[in-house]
């Protein structure tokens, strides 16, 4: 299998699937969604294969494919996967079929919807696999188009406003990043005599501190908008709330990760000195985001908006973990990206199912649903617990590692961030209480059906993974560890920074299990 272009096929399969769905005859409307789900299982299979074949403990990029496309810009089709990206690729490939299969409530222009979702998948996987900055940028930017249409066409009332805001916010950030990319290429030209945008080549550059600082700034702005880091988050509630369920799921579970992934992949390794210098700034912003997101989530009257703001809080944890610059923090950050994708994806699915039944997302319109739809209530509670970080479920592993790792280098931030965990319990359990417990006050709530077989089937893989990653996180951590250690090694080599001894652990998985 060594020569089979597995990574390219991960990008090409969704594209081919989009073409296949696009070619279906217009009259066979009923086929669009099932065929879409079926073709999206192919990249999932490839991703599963990738996950299994991925060699644990190897810090370098694996399955590398490299082909120069345009020599003068040093631009090439350069793909590779390491411990940081492999889990995110699997997560993307897993959530797309689920999101598609959950979209039966979409009846208008189904074909375009399926095509847009599959194109989105190709772009998302491409972002995680790209090892060429220009290629990365191309994917990073191109996914805006299908996402824009998914929100603008199939969203709810204020969808055009939300979609445009989403597009412009993210495009603004990435435009400045493009400037940074060009500047990096020209730095390479100065230093090596060759203009290149290849990530691996660019790692060899020697950048002055001031150059690093401003380049870090433009990259961090682009990724910070995507994450979103407070105060760049204002597009997020609008986009999440207005998007259709599948859009919200992919937006929360995968798109936001592009930001944290970018920070980890590019900012930390390309600009290590700037990273070390700017840790305080990002730590403060992360903590503010954690608390702010949680507080605002608490007071939301709209269930979907509540979940959306909870993302701001959870992604704050990821950023804090990354910029703790310790083994535990980085590993926790990567794991928490996956965890957040699973739990928040599931919560958006559940909110969407509730909306399909009652056509409202207002918490005040519900109450006492536990008696009417007990299984649904159980699933919601389970995912809420996972999101809060109940030990034994996945969220705990990530948050614990992040707090552990950040306590070593940023104790004050870690202590404040710990309140975020408590607040998460407040907003999610309080929301559960108002929606599912108490007397049934609204008559329409009485007759609604509980989850059906299809919906259970959609949620089952997520539930299973939440438990697996909660009780046996090694399966993920082992794959992550070598690569995050390599990032820390690089920072230590390039700067005067040294990771404190307690912050350097090679066998964290075992500890988290205890």
């Amino acid at each position: 299998m060594a020569d089979f272009p597995l990574l390219s096929s991960l990008v090409v399969l969704p594209l081919a699937g989009a073409v296949a769905v696009g070619l279906l005859p217009r009259a066979r409307r009923e086929l669009f969604l099932p065929v879409g789900v079926a073709v999206s299982l192919l990249p999932l299979g490839a991703a599963a294969h990738l996950f299994l074949e991925f060699s644990v403990g190897e810090p370098d990029f694996q399955f590398v494919e490299r082909m120069t496309l345009y020599e003068p810009w040093g631009f090439g089709w350069h793909l590779g996967v390491d411990g940081i990206s492999v889990l995110l690729v699997v997560l993307t490939a897993l959530l797309v079929p689920i999101a598609l299969a959950a979209s039966t409530s979409i009846t208008d222009r189904v074909k375009q919807f399926v095509v847009a979702t599959l194109l989105l998948e190709a772009g998302l996987i491409g972002v995680f696999l790209s090892l060429d900055l220009l290629l990365f940028f191309v994917f990073f930017e191109v996914i805006l188009v299908p996402m824009y249409f998914i929100i603008a066409i199939w969203g709810s009332d204020r969808r055009i406003y939300a979609a445009t805001k989403f597009f412009l916010f993210t495009a603004f950030g990435s435009a400045l990043m493009l400037g940074g990319i060009v500047a990096l290429g020209l730095q390479a030209l100065d230093q090596t005599g060759r203009f290149t945008l290849d990530y691996v080549d660019l790692l060899g550059l020697d950048l002055s501190r001031s150059t690093q600082l401003w380049m870090f700034g433009v990259f961090a702005l682009a990724f910070g908008i995507k994450v979103p880091i407070f105060p760049l988050h204002t597009w997020l509630p609008d986009a999440h709330v207005e998007a259709p369920t599948a859009g919200s799921v992919l937006l929360a579970a995968v798109l936001l990760k592009l930001g944290t992934y970018g920070l980890l992949r590019f900012n930390l390794t390309l600009f290590p000195q700037a990273t070390v210098d700017l840790v305080p700034v990002l730590a403060v912003l992360a903590v503010v985001g954690i608390i702010y997101g949680a507080v605002v989530a608490t007071v939301q009257p709209d269930l979907k908006k509540l979940v959306a703001y909870s993302s701001v809080s959870h992604l704050g944890f990821v950023v804090l973990g990354i910029f703790a610059l310790t083994s535990q923090g980085l590993q926790g950050g990567v794991i928490q990206m996956v965890n957040h994708g699973l739990t928040t994806g599931a919560l958006f699915l559940l909110v969407g199912m509730l909306y399909d039944r009652r056509h409202t997302k207002q918490i005040a319109d519900f109450g006492g649903l536990q008696k009417v739809i007990p299984i649904f209530a159980g699933l919601f509670l389970f995912m809420a617990f996972a999101s809060i970080g109940l030990p034994g479920l996945n969220g705990f592993v990530g948050e614990f590692l992040i707090l552990l790792g950040s306590y070593v280098t940023l104790p004050a931030a870690a202590i404040v961030a710990a309140f975020g965990v408590i607040l998460a319990a407040v907003y999610l359990l309080w929301a559960y209480q108002r929606v599912f417990t108490g007397p049934i006050e609204v008559a329409e709530n009485r007759g609604i059906p509980d989850v059906n077989g299809r919906e259970v089937a959609l949620l089952a893989p997520l539930v299973a993974l939440v438990i697996v990653l909660g009780v046996y996180p090694r399966v993920a951590l082992d794959r992550v560890a070598a690569s995050t250690e390599a990032v820390l090694d690089r920072i230590e080599q390039a700067t005067a920074y040294e990771v404190p001894e307690q912050g350097r652990l090679t066998d964290v998985g075992a500890e988290a299990e205890e």
Binding site: P72, V138, I160, T164, A175, L176, L178, V182
Partner: protein, 488 residues
């Protein structure tokens, strides 16, 4: 350099072919009342012959190197031949797109065809010329043809207004240009760009004020042609008033010709003065991207929107032009793909609003995505390309000019370009929303689109080709970029 200055018909072969075509079309029309198709095929044949000759020229230059002819006025090099290719493709596309209008204009069909061919001759010669008088003549041949085309549907007041405005302001710009020629002559004693350059190189560091003034006036005159701010005031009215069928051709070809002459003047005539013309050109570029983008945001008419976005695009191309000879590949790539985009965009406008229409309110495009998926998808792709979304040729063009501008030391300008490119997304997205999200306005209601004409076969082929070019050059731009950077 005037020793290599004999008369060589081959050097202007494509232009001669076009001229023969134009004359033949007019003669056919005089002697009998021919079927329109005969006129179209005649024009098409001569365009193909001209293109064939241009291809031949390309390979001959490859073998023998560039050559001067006509008393040092015409330089046949890869630069001029590539310009010919672009202009010829534009003319063919323009005729195909405007065919609906041309076929319906009765006895005047031949006139329109001949004017398109003559305009092509003018703008091709603009690129070939290395002599300021020749450049001026070419500019006038092309411009006057376009003035007449703008007023082609003369029973419509807005078309007349467009033509008159274009003519008056255009003549004013020509006057500025010719004054620049005079001052350059006064300062350097030559009007051939090669002589000018040789003179300035011998002059040393001090450059006379009169020369600088001359360059400034030359640039101002050309800034009008490429509709760079603050010389853009004519563009919205002309783009709106001229018949939609030919507007895309007018917009594209004027930019190609204007930029070709601009690059010739900068690179061949005054390369040594780069520190002098760089900053003002950067100012033009900055003003163009800002003014074009901000005003485009406020438009509710697709044609005015495309006009203002054209101003912004002039600014983007100028960012590459500042890099001088280093920037030429980027400039030409951008010009070629932009010209294709603008012709295709106006092709859709011509079908949706009628080929002779004079306005294109957003309302006409409501629901286009559901009603005519092919038209909507074509326009959407062109808009995304103009917005510079990756995987379209537009992104590659923007990236190329930004790299060139940054390398030339104009970092601030590139950053400004990036920011305005994002702001520009807003108005392109607005139109996408109208096409794909808004419900169509019912046929009887005010603001409804006119009954949609069938997309003619020539327009369909043009749109298909434009889509192909935009996608292919967006995904694999390497070959064309390589070709351009090898020869320019």
């Amino acid at each position: 350099m005037s020793e290599a200055a004999g008369v060589s018909l081959m050097a202007v072969g494509p232009e001669v072919a076009l001229l023969l075509g134009a004359v033949l079309v007019l003669m056919i029309d005089v002697y009998r009342n021919p079927p329109r198709k005969l006129l179209g095929w005649t024009a098409g044949t001569f365009l193909a012959v001209a293109f064939g000759l241009a291809v031949y020229q390309w390979f001959r230059i490859g073998a023998e190197g560039p050559s001067l002819s006509f008393g040092g006025m015409v330089l046949t090099d890869h630069f001029s031949v590539f310009a010919r290719w672009v202009v010829l493709v534009l003319a063919a596309g323009g005729l195909a797109v405007g065919w609906g209008m041309i076929a319906e204009s009765g006895r005047r069909a031949a006139e329109a065809i001949a004017l398109v061919l003559l305009a092509a001759i003018g703008f091709q010669l603009m690129a070939a010329s290395v002599h300021l008088v020749m450049t001026f003549l070419a500019l006038e041949i092309g411009s006057i043809s376009l003035y007449v085309l703008a007023g082609f549907t003369r029973d419509r007041v807005s078309s007349d207004e467009a033509a008159l405005k274009y003519f008056l302001l255009g003549s004013f710009a020509s006057a500025i240009f010719i004054y620049g020629v005079a001052l350059t002559f006064a300062g350097t004693g030559g009007m051939s760009l090669l002589d000018v350059n040789a003179y300035l190189a011998g002059e040393g560091t001090e450059t006379a004020l009169v020369v600088l003034l001359g360059v400034a006036l030359l640039l101002a005159g050309l800034a009008f042609k490429i509709s760079a701010a603050p010389f853009h005031a004519w563009a919205p009215d002309v783009y709106q008033g001229a018949p939609a069928g030919v507007t895309g051709f007018m917009a594209g070809v004027a930019k190609v010709g204007g930029f070709a002459a601009l690059m010739r003047i900068l690179v061949v005539g005054f390369p040594g003065l780069a520190p002098d013309w760089g900053p003002p050109l950067a100012g033009l570029a900055a003003l163009s991207v800002i003014v074009g983008t901000l005003l485009a945001i406020m438009q509710d008419d697709v044609r005015r929107l495309l006009a203002y976005s054209g101003v912004a695009h002039a600014g983007f191309i100028l960012i590459g032009a500042i890099a001088g000879s280093e920037g030429q590949p980027a400039v030409w790539f951008y010009l070629a793909v932009y010209a294709v985009q603008v012709v295709a965009a106006f092709a859709v406008v011509a079908v949706v609003c009628g080929p002779a229409s004079s306005s294109a309110p957003f309302g006409n495009f409501a629901g286009l995505g559901a009603g005519s998926p092919f038209l909507a998808a074509s326009l959407a792709l062109m808009l995304l390309a103009m917005a510079g979304i990756p995987l379209t040729a537009g992104f590659v063009g923007k990236f190329a000019v930004f790299v060139a501008g940054w390398e030339a030391g104009y970092e601030w300008l590139v950053v400004l370009g990036l920011v305005t490119a994002v702001a520009g997304l807003y108005f392109y997205l607005r139109l996408l929303v109208v096409m794909y999200v808004r419900a169509p306005i019912p046929a009887e209601a005010p603001g409804a689109a006119p009954a949609r004409a069938r997309v003619g076969a020539p327009a369909k082929v043009t749109l298909g080709a434009a889509i192909l070019v935009t996608m292919v050059l967006g995904v694999v731009p390497g070959p064309l970029l390589d070709l351009l950077s090898d020869v320019l």
